[in-house]
């Protein structure tokens, strides 16, 4: 200690050396640096991957859970529900969800969201996996090119996802939806080729727009003139042709469906473009009827009952339909004090193929032509279409014997002359026969007949007296005559009997006669050979 002190005092004046502590970088700082790097990387990743936050409105949040429910596209998780809130008026729920960064460019007005829950419908079951895993929100990216947006209205019914599938969408305009639903099948020649993907009321509310999707390659079979019809359920038609039952398949009977075809009598036209609009016909038959654009109204007046004739009943020309009944009313003529029934029909001239001459006739030519036809006996007539149903149809036929008539072109509709129905004709014919029967003087005939009968009985009585006279006078004389004849015959018999002498003599005479005849024959023979013997006699020597 003392030594130290002395040494210290000795160098008391010496300046203190500056000891500069070199700051040495401690290796331990690598640890927080690494931590910082990892943390920074995590933060960067989280921020860079943080996608857009969107809001979706649903009617109900059934099955949805904030922080748990995921958003899936093609079953791949692309986002998660962050929170679920009620809207201000409480009418729906607002789901706030965060999506992945990659989803950002796809969030357009075409993007659709819906809740995937387990659903069991007649067409099949879907989303059964959600029974265990809970509901999730499905997303369909939709067509590209929509306006970007961040708030969406969720669909209550899951759409049929067709994004990225090969095929085409079309729109069908129908008067009513019928039993169609999303997912209803579309058939072509009874093969399922597509399905209904959406439907909505048209803006003016008159028609229903049904969006359909036809899978490739069948969408190439759809042309401008392809006709779609509703193949829902059983199509039972009870009309003038009888009863018909049509259905595409058992499935369509249950859940409805659409079928299409391109009528062979039409030009198919160019292949239909994506999104083209078609009319949906009520049934298969309708597609053929409506193929005719041109319709000509005609008015027919019937005097008799038209019971059995309905609107839509066919108008046939010589058995081929060329139009249909569009209206039936009843008129009372106050002057004539009689009812008559005007029946409005529509003829479709396009159904008739015009051959020879020009195919397009002017209106005047057409009128002239109809006049000529009526002159030749064209008449409208009620006809029984089906004996089973009693339905009537209107037949146009040529009745050359019909009373002359003309088309009345003056009214609102041209009036075609009619003739009574065959039934009416039969009735009138029977009436005529009855009238003739009535004209027969049955009483006179009766009287005459009575007189004749009296005369006849008188004649009979006279005949009887005559017979009696004959009996009394003629019969005994006849008996005597007969007796005499009998004795004569007995005598003859006795004469001819073999044992009688007359018979014996006769027999001998006959034998002699035979001898004589033989001799004459020999003589004649000899004379023939020796004609000179008549002069010279027999030549005995020459003979021997």
């Amino acid at each position: 200690m003392a030594e130290q002190n002395t040494s210290e005092s000795r160098f008391k004046d010496a300046p203190e050396a500056v000891v500069k502590m070199r700051k040495q970088f401690s290796i331990v700082w690598v640890v927080p640096l690494v931590a910082l790097l990892i943390g920074g990387w995590l933060a960067f990743k989280a921020i860079s991957e943080k996608g857009p936050t969107i809001t979706i409105t649903f009617k109900t949040a059934e099955g949805l859970e904030a922080g748990k429910t995921t958003i899936k596209y093609k079953d791949v998780e692309v986002g998660q529900v962050q929170s679920i809130d009620l809207s201000e008026d409480g009418s729906h729920v607002i789901v706030t969800a965060e999506l992945g960064k990659k989803a950002e460019p796809h969030l357009t007005e075409n993007t659709r969201f819906w809740v995937v829950r387990a659903r069991i419908a007649a067409g099949g079951a879907s989303g059964l996996g959600t029974l265990f895993s809970g509901a999730y929100i499905g997303i369909d990216l939709g067509k590209p090119g929509g306006k970007p947006t961040r708030s969406f209205t969720g669909l209550e019914i899951p759409p049929v996802v067709t994004t990225g599938l090969p095929g085409s969408h079309f729109t069908l305009k129908a008067e009513k939806l019928g039993s169609l639903d999303i997912g209803s099948p579309i058939y072509y020649r009874q093969i399922k080729v597509g399905q209904v993907v959406a439907y909505e009321l048209e803006k003016n509310g008159k028609l229903v727009d049904i969006k359909i999707f036809i899978d490739a390659p069948h969408h190439g079979d759809i042309f401008e003139n392809t006709r779609f019809w509703n193949a829902s359920g059983l199509d039972v038609v009870l009309d003038a042709s009888g009863i018909r039952v049509n259905t595409e398949s058992f499935l369509t009977m249950m859940i409805g469906g659409i079928a299409y075809d391109t009528p062979a009598n039409l030009e198919p036209g160019a292949p239909a473009e994506e999104g083209a609009t078609f009319k949906l016909y009520a049934s298969r038959d309708k597609i053929f009827e409506k193929a005719y654009v041109e319709k000509k109204p005609w008015l027919l007046y019937f005097d008799g009952s038209v019971r059995g004739l309905a609107v839509g009943a066919p108008v046939e020309l010589q058995g081929i339909q060329i139009g249909e009944v569009t209206d039936i009313t009843l008129e009372f003529d106050q002057k004539k004090l009689a009812f008559r029934i005007p029946v409005l029909i529509e003829l479709e001239p396009e159904r008739v193929k015009f051959i020879g001459g020009e195919s397009k006739l002017s209106t005047m030519e057409r009128k002239r032509g109809m006049d000529i036809l009526v002159e030749k006996g064209l008449r409208a007539q009620l006809k029984t279409g089906s004996l089973l149903t009693g339905q009537l149809l209107i037949g146009l036929d040529f009745h050359s014997e019909a009373a002359p008539a003309k088309i009345n072109w003056d009214g609102r509709y041209p009036e075609l002359p009619t003739i009574p129905t065959p039934m009416e004709e039969i009735t009138s014919g029977v009436t005529r026969i009855v009238e003739k029967f009535e004209k027969i003087p049955l009483e006179q005939i009766g009287k005459d007949l009575q007189q004749t009968m009296a005369n006849l009985s008188k004649t009979t009585a006279e005949l009887q007296t005559l017979v009696q006279k004959l009996d009394a006078n003629v019969a005994p004389a006849a008996t005597d005559t007969l007796k005499q004849a009998q004795t004569t015959l007995i005598k003859v018999d006795r004469l001819l009997n073999a044992d009688s002498p007359t018979g014996h003599e006769l027999k001998r005479a006959l034998a002699e006669l035979a001898d004589a005849a033989r001799n004459i024959s020999i003589l004649m023979d000899y004379l023939e050979r020796h004609p000179d013997s008549v002069i010279f006699g027999k030549e005995q020597s020459n003979e021997k």
Partner: protein, 208 residues
């Protein structure tokens, strides 16, 4: 207090960690290493670079603490339903289902203790650097608590690893460790090292 005490440092004596030989340290020796004259082990008057190391480890632990709590620690897949839980969401889940004790254990072991450790060590470091003379005895006790309690934070990691190993029921239920498990383990390990690298004698050095 200080008048009655005599420390090894004030006596310029060093104790060897390995053989406990007391050796004399004469004055400043720059950056050279002091070695035990008997066994050759390096001699330190205080834990070397204690403050720097502790600071570094505490900062690292603080950074790791964020992902450990934000990211999911377990991913439970049950009947096709996948649920990822962070530590706090697990605690909330247990509270909601009425299992208070479990919630409490998890909360204390996984949230409270690491935080307490971080704050305590930070407090001690600051107090030493600022050469505070405030209640050195209590501060030393705090340090001891930090050291003792720190290892219990690993309970959470053990629970997760055991669950992951046990619950492998195929489609019925599967538990996987989430990314937070790694960060949480890192927090626990770094705080333990930080506590170890802190030299409580520094608290007392200012008292001389």
């Amino acid at each position: 207090m200080n008048d009655t005490s005599m420390t090894a440092a004030s006596a310029s004596l060093l104790s060897c960690h390995s053989c406990n030989l007391l050796s004399k340290m004469s004055g400043s020796h720059g950056h050279g290493h002091a070695l035990c004259p008997r066994c050759g082990a390096p001699l330190h008057q205080r834990k070397s670079n204690s403050l720097t190391r502790t600071w570094a480890l505490i900062i690292a632990a603080a950074i790791f603490y964020i992902p450990a709590n934000v990211l999911p620690i377990t991913v439970v897949t049950s009947l096709g339903k996948t649920q990822a839980d962070t530590i706090m969401s697990g605690v909330i889940y247990f509270v909601q289902t009425g299992m208070w004790p479990i919630a409490l254990v998890i909360f204390i072991a996984s949230v409270f203790v690491p935080l307490v450790k971080l704050f305590l060590l930070t407090f001690l470091l600051i107090s030493v650097q600022r050469k505070w003379k405030w209640r050195p005895k209590d501060r030393t006790r705090l340090y001891r608590i930090t050291e003792v309690v720190g290892r219990w934070s690993m309970v959470d990691i053990f629970v997760v690893t055991i669950l992951v190993a046990l619950v492998k029921l195929g489609g019925l239920a599967t538990i996987d460790a989430g990314p937070a498990a790694n960060y949480f383990a890192a927090v626990v390990v770094t705080t333990m090292f930080a506590a170890m690298s802190f030299d409580p004698r520094l608290i007392w050095d200012v008292m001389e």
